[in-house]
Amino acid sequence: MKRLLEGLGVFLIYGFLFLPMVVLVTLSFNKAPRGITWEGFTLDWYSKLLNDQGILDALNNSLEIAFWTTVLSSLIGVAVGITKVRVPGWRGLGISKLASLPILLPEIVQGLSLLCFFVLFAIPLGKFTVVISHASFGSAYVATLVRARLKAMDPLLEEAAADLGAHERAVFIKITLPQLWPAVISGALMVFTLSFDDFIVSFFTAGVGATTLPLKIYSMLKFGVTPEVNALSALILVVSLLLVTVAFWHQRTKVAEGA
């Protein structure tokens, strides 16, 4: 009896989590342009979606921004992570304290402060400012993963290499980086999705020419929803499902190999 109740509770929670997804996917195939009654199967919304230049442009912007954010955040995030763990004294400690700010502060505070900052230096708002803003918090996320990985690594390996005469650069490339890769890869994946999904920071820092997909969706929600949004949601859901499955599978095989 207790088991049954437990099972029911868990079933309800998962039902709650997936109900919205089921609704959107179902509606994306529904002929009825308004309302939710089933009027037959159609792919019209998908073809409309693929012909909507506004949405395609926004998708393009989002992918471009997420790509450069990922590159920039991975580079900075590795440096920040290494500084946190391996650099002695105030240089390391200070970064440890400061680097958690972008994760802890509400996004709206970061968004508006970056907006003010760009305007101060008369930097025109656009894709560039969005990338910089996303990298501002993205680097902090990569750094937490890099830090965790570094803490689990044996510093004696790096020390031994240095003792045997390897220069700092050689130690990093031959010893540190190969061990860090898994953290960098998961960090990069994480930042890509964070950037791709981000609404609030982009809302403040995008300006006119850099409408990202979330910004586009927001304006569609505010000014009249069309079933195209359902089709778009279903597509995003399928793509993220594929990505998560690949990431998860990748991690599992790694665990199985004992790495």
Partner: protein, 287 residues
Amino acid sequence: MIQGLRYRRFSGVAWFWALSLVIAPLLYVVIISFMSRGAYGGVVWTMTLDNYLRIAEPDNLAILGASLTRSVGLAFVTTLMCVAVGFPLALFLVFRSGRFRQALFFLLIIPFWTNFLIRTYAWMVLLSDNGWINHLLEKIGFGPQALNWLFTPQAVLIGMFYNYLPYMAMSLYVSVEKLDPKLLDAAADLGAGPLKRFFKVIVPLCGPGLAAGSIMVFIPAMGEFVIPDILGGGTSLFIGNLLAQQFLVVRHWPYGAALSVVLMVLVGVCIALFEKYGNGSKEDLLA
């Protein structure tokens, strides 16, 4: 520390990032909160306390007070709901789900990988007067359009709970996973009932996870303005709406900056409290 390895370049990059992209913008907001507004909405570099005095005016104070109360209240209730559902869920996943554990954990994070605007929009569809929930209620005999929840605080709360639950559930899961089941057996052997085991053994040991989850839910929830905007119909102001309005619509940046300083102070206090009672540094919580 490692002899001969000083990682100068890395710490240089790290400090450049921290100072230019994290600290400087925040500091700049604090600075312009003490400046005046120009005729066309820009910032004029004359020092003044006007923005803070303006906050203290009764009308403005009432608006700020109401929106802060709303935001903090919403964040608080959201956090409580997430703990109330997330904790049992984490316990179930770790101790009872057996071979389905990985699959169920995987399912838990899937909705979290879709865009949050889309997740929120789905609730708009579900809760609307002609939505699925109302159809279902009609079918089981509640009459047409029984639930008018869209654009009400209930809808906002559902949206918040839905969006923040995975964060709480995941950080509790990580914490519960580290728990030694032998401790629970020992407590049971010594005569502790399930409730006592939960509150005396599980909760204290999961303190860091609980604190991490609460930080990850409470603080962003406090600054949230999109979910209230979409599901609440923008009818009531939250602190986030107030800030967005000042910066993007009214364009009174110095006043907006002063308001955000208030929010920053509040966030700082919350982080300090979580750190104090969550036994563990935030760095360990987040990593």
